[in-house]
């Protein structure tokens, strides 16, 4: 029984949260990597547009709830409101592209000009979201919050340790998985996907092959919009919606995209899980786990922690720097501006 208890404890405090957090990051990081490789700039407005998209989903959710509609099978109503969020988000991204980025593409501005423009968009989006949603925390989750709670788990299994699995976490992991598979299929197998990669490689030549650059741009923003809305909604369901938190997500998402190798979708996913597991794993206190595993009398007295959790955020970056030192363009060999 003891090893089982150790495993349950580890899953509860580290594996499950890291998996869910990693999946959310992965969806965000995929968007960053996509924009980077195809439109060739670091999209700093990512966190704030994610907040805006989520806000739209929340609006939709509240509307549906007011109509008396709730999610099927005890799932959150927000799932049903996602299409609405998609429409808003994609519309917003395309509008931003038309009003802002298009011009810079036309004059072939340097990548950093795009980055700064995306900072501008970030500020604007930031204001708009707060205008609509305010700044406080909004919870929009309904239905069953848990697939099973710690208490239920303990009762059912009779173990000393418990484990909780939230609905949102399960949905997150499943959705992330599906989205990733679909995205890979799209990029590597479909004409549109290939034309996007071609455009990302050599814009002028793509033109000469009859690829319509505007179409590529539209598809890119559309996919980004989908990823953003999904990531934002899942994150919000899991942890609550607060615009500032979404802004804060920007750094870990970038870290994931870069760690995996900018421009490599697969890298972004791996990077996201590395970041998530590093953040939780390095500072994880193994004492409880070892207490179960070690024979009686030999239980650890210290926390058995590699680093204090105070340095959680710093640790992520330290890992990042170390990985980059050994693999200078990320785990999966990314591009360089």
């Amino acid at each position: 029984m003891e090893p089982l208890n150790a495993l349950v404890s580890l899953s509860n405090f580290m594996l499950i949260p890291a998996l869910a957090y990693g999946s959310q990051l992965a969806l965000g990081a995929l968007g960053i990597t996509l924009i980077f490789s195809i439109l060739r700039f670091a999209h700093f407005a990512h966190g704030d547009t994610m907040a805006l998209g989520t806000a739209a989903v929340i609006g939709g959710t509240f509307f549906l709830q007011a109509q008396g509609v709730t999610g099927p099978l005890g799932m959150p109503t927000a799932i049903l409101a996602i299409p609405f969020g998609l429409v808003v988000m994609i519309g917003y991204l395309l509008a931003a592209d038309k009003l802002v980025y298009k011009y810079f593409r036309k004059v072939k501005a340097k990548p950093l000009t795009f980055v700064m423009a995306s900072l501008g968009v970030m500020f604007v989006t930031n204001g708009i979201t707060r205008l609509f949603m305010g700044v406080g925390e909004t919870r929009f989750e309904d239905g069953n919050r848990f697939l099973f709670t710690v208490r239920e788990f303990r009762e059912y299994t009779g173990l000393a340790e418990g484990m909780a699995l939230r609905n949102a976490q399960a949905i997150t992991v499943v959705t992330a998985l599906i989205v990733m598979v679909v995205l890979f299929w799209f990029l590597n197998r479909t004409r549109s996907g290939k034309s996007m990669r071609a455009y990302s490689d050599n814009e002028d030549l793509a033109l000469l092959s009859g690829i319509n650059p505007e179409r590529v741009v539209i598809i890119t923003w559309t996919i980004t919009g989908i990823l953003l809305v999904l990531a934002g909604t899942l994150y919000g369901l899991d942890k609550g919606f607060r615009p500032f938190n979404y802004f804060q997500l920007l750094l870990p998402m970038f870290a994931a995209a870069i760690l995996g190798g900018l421009g490599s979708p697969f890298g972004a996913i791996v990077g996201a899980y590395v970041v998530a597991f590093a953040e939780l794993g390095i500072t994880y206190a193994w004492r409880r786990v070892f207490t179960y595993l070690m024979p009686e009398g030999l239980e650890p007295t210290s926390m058995m922690q590699l680093l204090p959790v105070d340095y959680k955020f710093a640790v992520t970056f330290a890992i990042l720097v170390i990985v980059l030192l050994f693999r200078p363009t990320g785990i999966f060999k990314g591009k360089v501006i």
Binding site: A109, L112, T113, L131, V321
Partner: protein, 434 residues
């Protein structure tokens, strides 16, 4: 130096705008904005050296600024004898042990041939070093932090004149930059960016959590200032007679005089830096740096030691940022580690450089002025805008209420719009590189 009439015109407009602020709002406000603009200009200059000259994408400005700020505490604050007595030696010893551990690991790495054994040896050295270090360091740190934690709880500084902290801040930042550069300059653009961003986060984390060093999140306040505070100037006779002549109140006059004192110091520093920077940029050195920025492979093949030059410019640029950080802390009279945020201390500076015109020193300076001005002044603009928007609505309507109470968020929105407009109409910056 190499300023065209158009550039001068832009600076003149900026000056006029500040003058308008002085006239219609208040001179104190104009000087407050001016002083921070000058400091920002110095930071922007440092970033411009790295990016504009050499193409190094440093997103760790925040860290270097903070290190410069730390120098002010370590130089200007009085030492805390009780804390030194409680654990000063232990801390010093602990630090030395830490450094020795790393050196030992490096030596092992260099001396041993690559093999599994080497990995194990390094790991063993690090593990033993870590244990010994924390054995010495931990208790000492606890002891120091326990000394009067409400107001002290740290070792204090050297009690030296605060202006000394400026060059020291530059040296501190340079030292950190040297270390960072040694390990991460092999990376390119975005990867370097995230590495520097990460390192700057680590610097801030250390500053926040190592309370024995500079009180961590408890802040160090009341640091000695290089210029007399207005409150000290108010009783001074010549200030009073100046107030009479100008027809201002004494407190206003004192504020203005004190502010101008800072302005003078900052202008001198900025002037020297610009002179050096312009001269360097227009020399063969500048040409070489641009060549390196354009094409590293080719520059190497043309005999330029790219790695060394990168390291040097990285250290120089960071030192300038550190200097600015020290100046800022000594102007504020306090170090607040919690306030170092990438948006404010890194990205805003980048916006300054890009809007001003990267690669151009004057551009960076102008960008700093423009962006800082906007950063501070869009706030009332946002409120004003909201008032206009809602002026037609019925009083007390929910929408009006909502919009008015959201006026604060218009700050970032307005800032964003301004930034986008500027980029749109001058994508290469207000004063582009020539």
């Amino acid at each position: 130096m190499s300023l065209t009439a158009r550039d001068l015109g832009l600076f003149a407009i900026m000056g006029a705008v500040l003058a308008l602020v002085a006239m219609f709002q208040s001179p104190q406000l104009a000087i407050t904005i001016l002083n921070m603009s000058l400091i920002s200009a110095i930071m922007a200059l440092g970033v411009n050296m790295q990016w504009g000259y050499a193409g190094l994408f440093n997103v760790g400005i925040m860290g270097f600024t903070a290190v410069g700020g730390l120098a002010v505490v370590l130089i200007a604050q009085p030492p805390v004898p009780e804390a030194w007595a409680a654990g000063g030696l232990g801390i010093l010893l602990g630090l030395m042990l830490g450094v020795a551990t790393i050196l030992a690991a490096v030596i092992v790495y260099k001396r041993m041939a690559p093999s599994k054994l080497r990995g194990i040896a390094i790991f063993a050295v690090l593990a033993v070093g870590y244990l010994v270090t924390s054995y010495v360091f931990g208790p000492a740190k606890q002891a120091v932090q326990a000394v009067n934690p409400a107001s002290e709880g740290y070792l204090g500084g050297a009690g030296l004149p605060v202006v000394l902290a400026w060059p020291v801040g530059a040296v501190f930042a340079a030292g950190v930059a040297w270390l960072v550069g040694k390990v991460s300059l092999g990376l390119r653009s975005d990867y370097l960016a995230i590495a520097t961003l990460g390192i700057s986060e680590i610097v801030i984390a250390v500053l926040k959590h190592e309370r024995w060093l500079a009180r961590g999140v408890n802040n160090v306040t009341g640091i000695e200032r290089p210029v007399a505070r207005p409150i000290e100037l108010q009783p001074v006779p010549w200030v009073q007679s100046l107030a009479d002549t100008l027809g201002w109140t004494i407190s206003q006059t004192a504020s203005v005089v004190s502010g101008l004192g800072y302005s003078a110091l900052f202008v001198i520093v900025l002037g020297i830096l610009i002179w050096l920077a312009e001269r360097a940029l227009n020399s063969p050195w500048g040409r070489m740096m641009r060549a390196i920025r354009d094409n590293e492979v080719s520059a190497r093949a043309m005999g330029k030691d790219v790695t060394r030059r990168h390291l040097m410019i990285f250290v120089l640029g960071s030192a300038v940022c550190g200097l600015a950080g020290a100046m800022m802390v000594s102007m504020d009279g306090q170090l607040t580690p919690g306030s170092y945020e990438p948006l404010r201390y890194t990205f805003l500076i980048w916006v300054m450089v890009i809007v001003g015109g990267s690669g151009n020193n004057w551009g960076a300076v102008l960008g700093a002025f423009v962006i800082w001005f906007l950063w501070v002044q869009v706030e009332p603009a946002g409120r004003w805008f909201m008032e206009i928007v809602t002026s037609g609505m019925a009083d007390g309507s929910d929408l009006k209420q909502h919009l008015l109470s959201s006026a604060a968020y218009m700050r970032l929105l307005t800032m964003g719009v301004a930034l986008l407009l500027m980029l749109r109409f001058a994508p290469r910056g207000l004063i582009p590189e020539r």
